[in-house]
């Protein structure tokens, strides 16, 4: 006897008016795939054949074909970049970021957080490139009021994939001492931990998100007390996944840390220059299987 017939046979079918109508009681599984890159640094072409570590690897064209293949396999895919899209090859010197955002939009990136090198061509040029490509940047702790970017950057975004709500917010690194003040102008930096606590709680409880993802350009870890992804994970709650950048950290596998409430937070970062793509699959199900949130390599 399956569950549906059991309930009907029990004479409790009237309960359906309380919410069973919209509810499919048959077993349902849903996979959400998150693809991510960081610190691609304008590496449009693959590395040259004489590169010491990754000859002929990487490049936007290979990445585009991989994304296409993975989106075909699972349409419930979201693609994020954790910042420092710009600076590192002549493409940026000559085109000031236009090509990077054009191609990222074309290959299906949903959003990126703002890295310190996103300021390198100035806010006016960045604005032009955002508007021309309708590119989505998410930044929660930079305040762009009274700058060229005012009104163009979202504090968070919520993506709905077959009823699963994925809340995404972005964090950027302190600009003072890192970026030329003439480039960031009146952009204000706010404490990432305070902002992360507020937004992640809002996404989880007010907005009913099933997953909360932080795309961070804070850096993986520091020897001093500077705020990093590892510190952020320990000092907050309500974040499920931190996609990192800035320190060019190439993790063999994602880290799982305990947050403030002892719950799991996943942190991942995949080096630099777009040689690697990180892929994390979240499996949702309405069956009453024991919830085993351990992370397995596939």
């Amino acid at each position: 006897m399956n569950r549906r017939s059991f309930i009907y046979n029990s004479g409790l079918a009237s309960l359906s008016v309380m919410g069973l109508n919209s509810c499919n009681l048959s077993s349902r599984d849903l996979k959400i795939t998150i693809l991510h890159t960081n610190d691609v640094h304008s590496q449009i072409d693959p590395f040259p054949s004489n590169h010491n570590l990754y000859p002929n690897k990487g490049g936007f064209s290979k990445r585009a074909s991989l994304f296409k293949e993975l989106i075909t396999i699972n349409p419930n895919t979201l693609i994020f970049d954790a910042g420092d899209i710009f600076q590192g090859t002549p493409y940026f010197n000559f085109f000031q970021g236009e090509l990077e955002l054009n191609l990222m939009k074309m290959m299906g990136y949903n959003a990126a957080t703002i890295g310190n090198h996103e300021f390198d061509a100035g806010l006016k040029t960045l604005k032009k490139n955002i508007l021309n490509n309708n590119f989505q940047f998410i930044s929660s702790n930079y305040d762009f009021t009274n700058t060229e970017l005012e009104g163009l950057i979202d504090k968070y975004k919520i993506y709905n994939k077959e009823g699963i709500r994925i809340g995404v917010f972005g964090l950027g690194i302190e600009l003072k001492g890192l970026v030329n003040p003439l480039l960031y102008g009146e952009t204000k930096y706010y404490d990432p931990v305070d902002i992360a606590k507020d937004i992640s709680s809002k996404l989880k409880y007010e907005k009913g998100c099933d997953l909360v993802i932080c795309i961070s350009h804070l850096g993986h870890q520091y020897q001093n007390k500077k705020i990093s992804d590892i510190e952020l994970a320990k000092l907050t709650s309500n974040i499920d996944l931190i996609i990192g950048g800035h320190t060019h950290t190439l993790l063999k596998k994602p880290l799982i840390l305990n947050n403030l409430l002892g719950e799991d937070v996943i942190i991942n970062q995949v080096g630099s220059s777009g040689v690697f793509v990180g892929k994390i699959d979240f499996y949702f199900s309405n069956s009453n299987k024991y919830s085993d949130k351990s992370l397995v390599e596939v």
């Binding site: 309930i7 309380m18 919410g19 509810c23 499919n24 349902r28 304008s42 072409d45 693959p46 040259p48 004489n50 010491n52 002929n56 690897k57 064209s61 290979k62 585009a64 074909s65 991989l66 600076q87 590192g88 090859t89 002549p90 010197n93 000559f94 090509l99 191609l103 074309m106 290959m107 390198d120 009823g163 003072k176 001492g177 890192l178 970026v179 030329n180 003040p181 003439l182 099933d210 997953l211 993790l251 063999k252 596998k253 994602p254 777009g274 690697f276 793509v277 990180g278 994390i280 699959d281 499996y283 199900s285 309405n286 919830s291 085993d292 949130k293 992370l295 397995v296 390599e297 596939v298």
Partner: protein
């Protein structure tokens, strides 16, 4: 309510909670190295941009006898092959421009570690490598600093986790020499840096204590390109310019 209906009710209530939303059951990950096929559509767009760059980035500007990186330092000999090469090039090039423009010599160079962004490949050095190693549009500036303010710079360099390249300066434990002479607090020193550092970049806020700034109008990358074209062969090694006590 009898016990039977209590059990039924609990069972149904459990399913009402469970079925209205899906639960996260498991998570898997993988790290994919990009070796695979290209996307024709994307390659077409890239080629349009590539063809419109009007300098020949594949032109060979020199040769390198080996691979040089900024990461081959150790904690005691706190300097790297590529860092030394670039700092020495900046010294030679900016000194000659400063001499020409102001009839003065520079005393030393400081270049931030983070300003060097790629390795120098062994063999042919192409124009595109100059862009990758020194991608920033930063210009060389000469700051005039009093000798009394150099100790702050030296202690900053000693406490950093990565070695900022320099040339013209030697730090051996507590012994600090500029042009092989001890620092005199009353002297003026001319230090070649870049305009990013002048704005407090990489937390080098001490350069705003300068008593004069000279802008050479000469970029780091052009200094590297000019030197490479003039010498043709590049070579470097780790040396004793920065020895740290452990």
């Amino acid at each position: 309510m009898n016990t039977f209906f209590k059990i039924i009710f609990l069972f149904v209530a459990f399913h009402l909670v469970g079925c209205s939303d899906l639960n996260l059951n498991s998570i898997s990950y993988s790290r994919i190295e990009l070796t695979g096929p290209e996307s024709i559509a994307v390659s077409d767009v890239i080629n349009i941009y590539k063809d419109s760059i009007d300098v020949s980035l594949d032109n060979i500007i020199g040769f390198s006898d080996q691979l040089y990186t900024k990461g081959d330092f150790n904690s005691k000999r706190f300097n790297s092959t590529l860092g030394n090469l670039i700092a020495d090039i900046l010294f030679i090039q900016s000194d000659s421009v400063f001499k020409f423009q102001e009839n003065k010599n520079i005393d030393f160079v400081i270049q931030n570690h983070g300003g060097i962004r790629a390795s120098l490949p062994k063999g042919e050095v192409k124009l595109t490598d100059a862009y990758k190693i020194l991608p920033f549009e930063n210009e060389i500036v000469i700051v005039e600093m009093g000798g009394e303010s150099l100790s702050e710079i030296v202690s900053f360099l000693k406490n950093e986790t990565t070695p900022h390249p320099f040339s013209g300066l030697t730090i051996n434990g507590n012994e600090v020499l500029v042009q092989n002479k001890p620092i005199k607090p009353s002297n003026k020193y001319y230090i070649a840096i870049n305009d990013y550092l002048l704005t407090g970049g990489d937390n080098m806020f001490f350069f705003n204590k300068n008593t004069e700034v000279y802008r050479l109008g000469y970029s780091l990358r052009n200094a590297f390109i000019d030197y490479t074209k003039s010498k043709l062969y590049l070579s470097s090694k780790i040396d004793n310019r920065f020895i740290r006590n452990e």
